[in-house]
Amino acid sequence: MSGPGFGGWLADRLGWSGLRAGLEAHRAPRRGFVFYLGGITLFLLLMEVASGILLLLHYRADVTQAHESVSRIVGEIPYGDLIRGVHAWSSDLFVACLLAHMFIVVLRRSFKPPHELTWLSGQAALVISIGLAFTGAILPWSEAAYTHARTGSELARSVPFIGESLFRFMRGGSEVGAATLQHAFGFHVAALPALATLLVAGHLFFLSRRPALDPQPEATASETMPLYPDFIVRQAVAWTGVLVLVMTLAIFVDRPLGPAADARLPSIGARAPWYFAPFHELIKMSPRELLGIDGPRFLVGAACAFGVIVIALPFLDPRGSKLNVYVAWGVLIVLTLLGARAYL
């Protein structure tokens, strides 16, 4: 198996023939773009890490300097607007692909036992991703970032049981200020990426122990292909396409920074990131009271309850009923309508 030269040496030291045989034994579905979404999400996460490390070279996490440092990145530092654009667009696409990946898993009911650990690690990664999105949006310390920190932490306060602690923790105290930015920064660049890395590693490990498809099931052999090289090479092609898309968006579509935060100015009309927009719209539409509870508080509680049900899906519905598919489509349609309402 191992040939001459450096390649042969490396293959020998890595035990490549064994690795290769293992990868070849795994089967991947032959048709369908949806099966590449997980890998694309991983690729976008890598893009986030790479561009994030670069932004760290010039970003300053201090309320008096943060906004200025970001406008310097965008305006003065060579290719700074490109790097920030890549970071911003990859993050949007990352969330989109992550949600799409999850949606497909629910539609195909791939969360069923024995895939509980894969599902749970994916759900935990989703929670961490929400944390990354929330903290990342605070870092530019623009007027929008400041409003985002205020309203986001206030909504988190309504989370049942842990709300008050979460609120104080997100703000680094009772008020949005220097401590809020410091907390957001530390978690955005250190704690949350480390957790995300562990969770993704776990996700892939659990998947490798309990593959989504049985190895070589006779009946479906024609509908599958070996994970290596067939699937992984196609995945690499998909990654290249995503890279082109991100670069194109970063070069041609501007991501305005907006004015610096000033707590003395009235908040500019809050516009949530698109993935929070449906929920934000729901909050805006909500009456002041629902079932005798403060409206936003009720909605946050309901969202948390829904989240717990989703996380527990493999245990609540181990056989994967068809109901999930209808509910998933229903949720998608409602969220799309709400999101569309926010932008019209």
């Binding site: 205020r150 309203t151 206030e154 949005v176 100015l265 009235p266 908040s267 809050a270 002041r288 936003p296």
Partner: protein
């Protein structure tokens, strides 16, 4: 070492339990210092103290101005008769910062359309209650804002 000693299940169970117990006890004992370190502010400590927000001449008669008191935005209104009134400029709905509208003579929240009257009462929109009123005192030309007792 006799086999009985080395592999005796009760002893092994005891050791496992002791290790697990110590680890749990240590983790529990560390939780409080970690939580306090992460969140050093004593509840209610900030914002309760009086804060000097400017000089008398900074607040012309018949105008409104938002200032920061202990990092918190405070809306200071000075009526035509020279009287001061101050409100926490934090909307009671989702904590956006509210602003004074001179044209409409009311306090407005731009985020979700909450409206308050000039005396801080809720008029329209999603806020569940009125703005928190603060006490304004004057001391040798300095304007001091403090929480109403």
């Amino acid at each position: 070492m006799s086999e009985q000693e080395g592999n005796s299940p009760p002893r092994r169970n005891f050791l496992s339990l002791a290790v697990a117990g110590s680890a749990t006890a240590f983790a529990t004992a560390m939780a409080y210092p970690v939580a306090r370190f992460a969140n050093p502010e004593t509840p209610g400590a900030r914002g309760s103290g009086p804060a000097t927000v400017g000089k008398l001449e900074d607040f012309p008669v018949g105008t409104a101005k938002t200032v920061l008191a202990n990092e918190r935005p405070v809306l200071v209104l000075r009526a035509a008769d020279g009287q001061f009134r101050a409100f926490s400029a934090i909307c009671t709905h989702l904590q956006c910062v509210v602003g004074w509208s001179a044209e409409r003579n009311q306090i407005e929240c731009p985020c979700h359309g909450g409206v308050y009257s000039a005396d801080g009462q809720r008029v329209a929109g999603p806020p569940p209650r009125g703005l928190t009123e603060l006490t304004v005192t004057l001391n040798e030309g300095s304007v001091i804002v403090s929480e109403t007792a």
